[in-house]
Symmetry: C2
Subunit: 363 residues, 2 copies
Amino acid sequence: MRYIDEQAIERITLGATLLGTGGGGDPYIGKMMALQAVRRYGPVALVAADELSRDELVVPISMIGAPTVLWEKIPSGREMVKILELMEAHLGKRAAAVMPIEIGGVNSLIPIAVAAEKSLPVVDADAMGRAFPEAQMVSFYLDGLVPNPVTMADEKGNTVLFHPVDAVWSERLARSLTVQMGASAAMSDYALTAGQVLTSGILGTLSLAEEVGRLILEARRENRSPVQDLLDTLHGFRLFTGKISDVTRRLEGGFTKGEAILEALTGKTGESLSLYFQNEYLLAASGDRILASTPDLIVALDADVGTPITSDRLKYGMRVDILAFPAPPKWRTPKGIEVAGPRYFGYDVDYVPVEHRVAAAAQ
Amino acid sequence: MRYIDEQAIERITLGATLLGTGGGGDPYIGKMMALQAVRRYGPVALVAADELSRDELVVPISMIGAPTVLWEKIPSGREMVKILELMEAHLGKRAAAVMPIEIGGVNSLIPIAVAAEKSLPVVDADAMGRAFPEAQMVSFYLDGLVPNPVTMADEKGNTVLFHPVDAVWSERLARSLTVQMGASAAMSDYALTAGQVLTSGILGTLSLAEEVGRLILEARRENRSPVQDLLDTLHGFRLFTGKISDVTRRLEGGFTKGEAILEALTGKTGESLSLYFQNEYLLAASGDRILASTPDLIVALDADVGTPITSDRLKYGMRVDILAFPAPPKWRTPKGIEVAGPRYFGYDVDYVPVEHRVAAAAQ
């Protein structure tokens, strides 16, 4: 066990932006909420899942909805605490800890704010190991767990508790409630025992986010690129370094879908990379050759200052490094690929692990 | 206290069709469910609200959604019982009785089916005294009561319990969940004490529906029109008798909106009536002169056999009597008119009680 303080929140924010793989929502609002809570209530204990008793209750805390709305409709924080209290009241059991359901983006920070206010530890784990856009894209669903129940609350005071038949129904019902609630809401699903988190969660990801943030900050202080450190730590690959020559975006089914074209910086004229995103970066290709795809993590870094760039900030002329990292093993199973592989998102390509794609390309 | 048997269900069905004022959903499916339950579990006790102890729990049972969908997706009945059980579990109290939230249409019958299965009485009251299309159009809302909580269930096994800040939010959240659940779902809101039902309900309406049905059946047996008996019992007015010369319909915001034009049967050529509906009949006008409007009840009866005709069955050439009946007093208050008067439905006219309109027209 150790404590998350203000400096740790800064590092986690930067790491969560990278692990958000272009989406997950700008963590800035989450950072502000977590900082404010820690300043008011003191640092938050970060515990490993195996530091809890196996039957203790762990409750994930998250926001659902359009991340951009958070800027116009800043959560009061009250709704985040409310979803925890509803869960506890329904289960007749106090939570021993909270956890993030998603480590990428804003949802990595929000549980820290709730943990501070409720004097609870936060578990060093999540259920994605990155960011994904839909509620069923969680390792708990891959393991056949049913969200039972789901709690939701909005800043107006509406609260909802529901028992969906599975996580796909959880996504469907929660998404439509979120639209009514003004495009964002607080949501807790998959209240679990610590033993279930240990088996079915993706472990150590808050620490991983913090380490990623630390590497980026350290490189920045030393005025060098963090790329090699990140590749070493996350066992990843640099796919491309180039300048953005075109970005197209369209709103489709609640996603910002689009494509960025990068041209190589070096002399190799004609070499280019296409980066496809639906909030998250989902596919990187050079001509007909796929370089990486979801569920593996694809990340864009500002080539000058090493800061991760979300897909909504991509613009013409930016110099970026495109990196790819292997997804956690649960995502590389047939079920994981069915739930969050390229075909689910409408790309007509098979999933091939990024390390195989890179090895094949090198031949 | 008396019992609802199979014959009473037949009468209630006919009366509920009339009180549905053209909408409320064809009660046939509800009749089948109620008949089946009564055949299996025996007749259902019908009690007045003041026959219960004031603090006993009364739970309304209803379907929400597009009535036509019930034909394609017949409720299993299980979801109707489930919403009652969810309510009881949440409140930690057993229901002493169920009740209809709406007396017009299918929702007058469904509580009878649940009452039979659960061996509970049904309260002789509802919260509309007719049919209305939205969940906040209930006398409980007019009296400032908050649905706390609302329970919902679908035939797939999804269940929801929510605490809306008011009945308008109840409508908004329940409607969007209903769309996801496949356009119809079971819903219980406003679990109340018998004392609250006594104060804020519209009393005696199941008996009224049955009496209306009895009058129609009696007239049919005697091969005469039920119109005069209905006018006497419901203190109403015959607005027009004519032949339908035109019907236009359009789907708009989940409603079937439209207008029927009737031409007088008698020699008075040129005399005509326009009947505006949004599922329910909401406005009757002759030229510029408004004859009746919501919240007063407007009803179309087949002029030949005395059967009430729902707005989806109106067609060219039908001979119909158009009747109007005063709404229950709670709907004639400023709040009642704001919630369900003509302006709420988009008609740019003031509400004037039907008896005043008829008196003015007679001068």
